[in-house]
């Protein structure tokens, strides 16, 4: 018998600190597999966010930097401009990319920086205790919207991917989900596309990944995946946005 699925080289063989069933573990592996498949491990530089993925650099076996909360794309811009031959990507949560870092996100995209972005939308602030995020769904209960998100008080779920797609510097945006094994494979293809675009100098690429946070959704890991399929994907439809 031949080994047909094994841990890839770009992922260290260490346990992660993520909760059982958390999507960050899956997304980390997908990024690592793409880096291996494109044979760019020696020239990849990842920027870890502030959020549950804050120590992603302990899990990826390639060069990484850390950015202050929301500033990953500013740091990535600098690194890519100084090292244009390297493949530079950011990995950011919804609080990081679409709340505190909205400014950096929009301007990096508008400048058409030749970068790849892996955007983990889990509809909450995971690291700090499950508070309401810009991407929280209407009616969704969080620790700061205990009766559920209410449009008058909290506004609507922010579609940052659709907003960024309007900018001419952006070459590729796709929304994918970790809801089932086939969707996970589609998510990997989208991440690969975003990296290939950068290698081909095409500009700013972003993959939004709908990702489970069972802990702060108050659901089991499998119920969380079903919730993505039945509820979250209705508000955040999957597919190529640009």
């Amino acid at each position: 018998m031949e080994k047909i699925f094994k841990r890839c080289q770009s992922l260290y063989d260490v346990p992660t600190h993520y909760c059982p069933g958390c999507g960050h573990g899956i997304a980390h592996r997908l990024v690592a597999e793409v880096v291996d498949e494109l044979d760019i491990r020696e020239k990849t530089i990842g920027i870890a966010p502030v959020g549950c993925a804050v120590v992603a650099y302990d899990y990826w076996n390639f060069d990484c930097s850390e950015a202050a909360h929301g500033r990953a794309l500013a740091v990535a811009t600098a690194i890519k401009r100084v090292h244009p031959q390297n493949v530079v990507f950011t990995y950011q949560g919804d609080g990081d990319l679409a709340a505190i870092g909205t400014n950096e996100t929009i301007h990096a995209a508008n400048r058409g920086e030749n970068l790849s972005v892996v955007f983990i939308n889990n509809a909450v602030y995971g690291m700090t205790g499950g508070q309401l995020a810009p991407t929280t769904l209407l009616g969704q209960k969080t620790s700061t919207s205990i009766e559920g998100r209410e449009k008058k008080a909290h506004g609507y779920p922010l579609k940052i991917s659709e907003m960024l797609a309007l900018l001419p510097g952006v070459c590729y945006i796709e929304r994918v989900s970790l809801q089932s094994p086939p969707e996970v494979l589609k998510a990997k293809r989208a991440i690969k596309q975003a990296f290939e675009n950068q290698i081909n100098n095409l500009g700013f690429s972003l993959v939004e990944i709908l990702s489970p946070c069972p802990t702060y959704w108050g659901l089991s890991p499998k119920e969380s995946l079903d919730w993505i399929r039945d509820v979250m994907q209705k508000e955040f439809p999957l597919g190529r946005i640009k």
């Binding site: 047909i4 699925f5 993520y18 909760c19 094994p181």
Partner: protein
């Protein structure tokens, strides 16, 4: 002919693989692992591994990269 090998000490017991194995070959353990968690066990019928089709769904959905698949 296929089989999986699960790293039981790394398993956090999310049981996503149990839900997605199309042949129902993965079961929750009764025992606890080093982390003090229930883990998953590959349980092909009567010790023969021929019912595993090597579809890799368990490995693809695993957030902790716990299973290796052989075919």
């Amino acid at each position: 002919m296929a089989k999986i090998i699960i790293n039981q000490d790394k398993c956090k017991g999310c049981f996503l693989c149990v839900n997605f194995c199309p042949k129902g070959l993965i079961k929750k353990s009764v025992k606890l692992n080093k982390q003090g968690l229930n883990f998953v066990e590959f349980s092909p019928k009567a010790g023969d591994s021929t019912d595993c089709i090597g579809c890799m769904q368990c490995a693809v959905i695993c957030p902790d990269c716990c299973s290796e698949v052989y075919k």
